[in-house]
Amino acid sequence: MAAKRAERLVNLVIALLSTRQYVTAARIRGTVPGYEADDGSDRADEAFKRMFERDKADLREMGVPLETGRTSVFDTEDGYRIARADYELPEIHLTGEEAAAVGLALRLWESAQLAGAAQSALVKLRAAGIDLDPTRSLPIQPRLDRGEAAFEPCYAAARDRRQLQFDYRRPDEDTAVRRHVQPWGVVAWHGRWYLVGHDLDRRADRVFRLSRVVGTPKATGPAGAFDPPADLDLTSVVARQVGGEEHLVVVRARPGTAVGLRRRATSLGPADDGDDRLQLSTTEPWALADELTAYGADVVVEGPTEIREAVVERLTRLAAMGESA
């Protein structure tokens, strides 16, 4: 940024912080160095106006709480001030250990938006007198939002509570379908990112996998357009919609086979024919049926019947594949 402009913005912040009165634009123009002087011409007025509008927008964008109002009823136009209590970061004291935790936490972010925010949060905490040692390292490399292109626009729309539209392609659909959503938030769940929100076309709460979003989601309409449910727990919404109800499945596995199933199964002891009876719990019965199918003759489903039938159906299709080949 041009040094002149940075200097002007810093001076503007100091000037507005140092007064309890609202200061009019004209007065700011006369006091704060760097603004186009008033030479009575319309051109100079215009130039000042443009400059001042841009400065206000930039300060607000940075989070500077710029207030507008009038000090007394006799004032003929609005002025500006910055209330110190709203501007300043409240007192915060962290012990060495706590500061180390913050330092580590801030390294979690990968997306430009939140990594940048983490860096500026760090700067502010240091300016509040906290010593955060950047050399302290744990042999942990946490990554949170790596490489998910839809993350930033979805996050930003949820933060600002703006309506979001995007093209979404379910793997079993031929083409992407335009969705209109009130975004509540983004969640990492079992290693995948999801957007949680209210689908306006389907009039229902929905969970979307970010990797299935085609192109860049676009926020539309004003900020603060909706309120997410007050008792919202993003993770449990995803767990409910993606996860579903729990089912118990009993299978027989030949001894020494089905290593992967045994890692998470409860053993029910041997069956008459020497196979091992295993009980499995799943929230995704059809995915389990797929998995059981892949074990072929090593694993036979005892029940429930619908899972047994689902596996037989899959095996029948696979067997037929050999016929046509």
Binding site: K124, A127, D172, T293, V312, M321
Partner: protein
Amino acid sequence: MSAAGTTDRMTRLLALVPYLSARPAGVALSEAARDFGVTERQVRSDLELLWMCGLPGYGPGDLIDVSFEGDRVKVTFSAGMVRPLRLTTDEAVALVVALRTLLELPGLAERDAVSRALAKVSAAAGDAAERVTPVAVSVDAREETLTVVRAALEQQRALHLHYYVPTRDERTERTVDPMQLLLVDGRWYLEAWCRRAEGVRLFRLDRVDDVVVLDEPAAPPPQATSRSIDDGVYRPGQDAPAVKLRLARAGRWVADYYPVEDVAPVDDPPGGLAVTVRTADLAWARRLVATLGGNAVVDEPAELGAQVAAEAREALRRYGVPPAPGDG
């Protein structure tokens, strides 16, 4: 300059005077540069700019004053810039969500400290943290495994473990030299030198069983360097043989899930997708096709399809389902 650049410099300029005010004994320029993540030259240029700023009037007693003693710098007049600006929503989210994520990590020795830091940061963030946080991270972890692996890393010792390889449905036994832990989108991986494979490998912790810290030092050889995970944790071999599949609609998730090439829509099966997957591991391909339960047709190699079908027929016999016509 870009909007982000503008904001970065302004954030620094507004923070620099409070930073120095909070350290009345002064700060070495190199330390300030490190703390702000910029060069010393940049800090110097920021200070020179701040020197020109101050209270309206802008006389000698109104301007920010900074003094140098050797290479140490301290502020002697702050013009009322004593505290940094509040946290923005993004900053509060970055902090609060990351701390909450750390709290979810099992076996974290610093748990209490993280929890206290979270409470203090939330209080200081005020409004910015009070709203429903638009990001949540749920971490998968096996407490015991993670605790043992962390201990090995801290003591720099080798590990003995059993690793489940889903593609072959095998439990393998390995001795590894741990290098680092990675947490990628809520999943833990151990990066280590595998003595059996003589290479750097990523081990997903939820597939690790019976891990034991050995009484010998971790000694990854010099050629063991961290591989970048910027392209994802799963990387196919470029020169591996091609497996050509036609995916039915219900099997098209494969194209989402694995790196595939030569993707093209096809009419048979209806709404299908032809893809090429590269793998040297035919057992893996066999499993994948079987998992798809008929939602994938194998075009190449032909023996892959025949093998899957033969295995399915054998399985059907165990279910007492009559063999398909023409099957002997």
